[in-house]
Symmetry: C2
């Protein structure tokens, strides 16, 4: 008998028929003797509907803490409806089931409305229910702060809730049911030969998640790593009555144990991202403190910076480039042209939105030399110019012209033999 | 400066445009210097939508406490969305506003899910907000039990919430905004000459409410009477920007002070109800305990009984009649024919669904003789046969053939001069 946490996304909860299927799947696990905690998202579309109503009424342009508090009050109802409906569907399956909101558990968070962080989870009540043979359904995405205000964790927060609950309860495994059947070596829509990974290390998953594989919210992966929660991503589209042993091995296990199989693969996957834009300050005086003089105001303007490049100086001048999210591009350019550029005596401000970032990710890179150069050669053979390079222990990213993205991903997928089975 | 509670029904909260109008109306009151607490219902249709989803998933025919708990979990979200949206709309009006769910106040109730009763309200948090100049928006219809489970008060519970909050806070007046502009001497759809009452005593309102004037939930009137909360029913369809002094005097005040004006009117209104059906046991042996032998099993079957008549006996036999809600009619007849009738050796079971109850209500009846006989004469003059009679201190009800209902109401309205102005 194990303690298992299931998390179901909004699509899985999208209709009463689908909720009934979720209940049948959970019932199968419960009947196999497992203690079950289930964390569902809001029914698909519901959070957007609710926030749409709120937006119609909101003061133009406002984002006061008071407004954010009310948005949380409203948005949290989506998951509250889901847990009630799922508990009822489980009761209809003949199980004892009880639902809880975030505050009822309680899932204690800080007071950062709409993007709160979980501080602690008291699992006493849930544990008592499990001991009494009940399936416990807990609302994801939400918590409560010290003053008893309802908070939400931000988009994708239900993943984080599920993992945090699994961590607090020391669950044996946290299964994230989603609309993909696992983590792939890269996006199969771009590389048809992309393979599903049976396991991936949590560090790799972190890089894959942050680099644009939108399977899991990155904070949930961080949480899983920090608290060593075995996490499995698997498909919610398999029939609910497939053999439980088969289901338990399906999808991709995100593990914190580096087993041999993982060591064999130098590169586990190719991630990519075309949400970024590049900005460059040309001819900046190369003197101490220049990076801070440039990036300080950018950070103050709440613009996140990803890749940063400073070239070696020539004649006491240097070029300074960084990437920002495309949504922040216009603001970043304006800031550089009006304030930062003149302040640091830059000769010129350049910008380019038509870029993409392609990354190879693999825990094996730590102990293998020449991985990056193999990447650069593969791109060079396709005639793809590299604009920026950024590396970490288990990842190498390049910024290239957006139009080469698919070509680059396919070339790298082939160069690192990702179309061959890991175990082969 | 007064402490005022406003309650808005689902129609008033039915769209973002309407919520904006509610906010403007509340803002007008706040700017006039009043401390404002607002209790909105769920957006119209929302509670039915939510319970419809729940019903699709519920085990057939089940009504376990566990299921009821989940229904409350789900239904309570309707008001939670409303309070958040209204608080945002108030903020957009430039006011400081904060919303609370039932559990946040907290509104403490018993654990009777879907029909909980309020036990206590802690107003400390709300009072602090009011003192800080905030408008406080509180979710109606809901509370929390001792084990921190969410409860709801049942249909129309938002009226009760508003009155209970007004009582706990010793509010100067509780204004119930609704889709009628006050309490009428009778239904204007039946008697075009029906007049709006400027004031009505809480006892009269109680009789009017329980007799089918569906303006206020009866429990809210009981609450208002018990805690002496001045209650006003007024229209939510007047423009939000009408003069506040005019608005404050509009509608009908439900008062617990019997002023002179009220004493003048012997009968304040005519109520009617065609939701009942009549059942009769003929030829029952007239012996002690017979009423209990009949009505005990009926109560055990959860069938509410209203009017009860037992005729004087002849030859040791009597006839026993009572009315039940039409929804319970078939069950009542079956129960009498199969169980109760044989048990008490009744000669025959009769039933009639085509009846109605018409009542005259008036606090002045206490001190005026001949009111009932005036009623009977008016009906007799129209050739209407009276099947049953039931009286209380401030009301006389008759059960008659359904087809005479409109005729009876009109005749009584005229007989008691209700088309003349009270003050005249």
């Amino acid at each position: 008998m194990a303690l298992i946490v299931h998390k179901y996304g909004g699509t899985s909860m999208g209709s009463t028929d689908r909720i009934r299927n979720v209940a049948k799947r959970v019932a199968k696990w419960a009947r196999a003797g497992h203690q079950m905690v289930v964390v569902p998202s809001a029914m698909s579309g519901e959070t957007n509907r609710l926030l749409g109503l709120a937006k119609e009424l909101s003061p133009a342009g406002a984002s006061t803490p008071e407004l954010m508090r009310e948005l949380d009050m409203i948005a949290a109802t989506g998951e509250q409806v889901s847990v009630g409906l799922l508990a009822i569907a489980l009761q209809a399956e003949g199980l004892e089931a009880v639902s809880y909101t975030g505050w009822q558990v309680p899932v204690q968070t800080d007071s950062s409305h709409t993007k709160a962080r979980i501080e602690s989870i008291d699992d006493a009540r849930v544990r008592a229910d499990l001991a009494a043979g009940k399936v416990v359904v807990i609302a994801g995405f939400q918590g409560v702060d010290e003053e008893q205000n309802i908070t939400t964790l931000g988009r994708g927060g239900s993943d984080t809730s599920a993992v945090a609950i699994a961590a607090a309860m020391k669950a044996d495994e946290c299964l994230i049911y989603t609309d993909v059947d696992g983590v792939y070596t890269t996006d199969p829509r771009i590389v048809p030969e992309a393979r599903r990974l049976h396991t991936i290390s949590f560090e790799e998953m972190l890089e894959m998640a942050s680099l644009g594989s939108k399977i899991l919210q990155i904070r949930s992966v961080e949480f899983a790593g920090k608290y060593r929660v075995p996490l499995r991503v698997l498909s919610s589209f398999t029939p609910w009555d497939i053999d439980i042993n088969e289901e338990a091995k399906s999808g991709t296990l995100i593990s914190f144990e580096e087993d041999e199989k993982m060591e064999q693969a130098v590169v586990s996957g190719i991630a990519f991202n075309r949400d970024e834009a590049k900005v460059t300050l040309l001819g900046v005086p190369d003197k101490p403190g220049i990076a801070f003089q440039i990036l300080g105001p950018v950070a103050d303007a709440n613009i996140d910076v990803d890749v940063i490049i400073q070239n070696v100086s020539q004649d006491g001048k240097t070029d300074f480039s960084f990437t920002v999210h495309r949504n922040d591009y216009a603001r970043a350019i304006e800031l550089l042209e009006k304030t930062v550029g003149p302040a640091v005596q830059a000769a010129k401000v350049l910008g380019d939105q038509r870029i993409c970032k392609v990354s190879i990710v693999g825990i094996g890179m730590r102990s293998h030399v020449g991985v990056a150069s193999k990447m650069f050669r593969a791109l060079s053979e396709e005639g793809i110019n590299i604009q920026m390079i950024s590396t970490s222990e288990i990842k190498t990213s390049v910024v290239i012209d957006e139009k080469y993205m698919e070509l680059a991903v396919r070339a790298l997928h082939k160069a690192f033999d990702l179309d061959q089975d890991q175990a082969a």
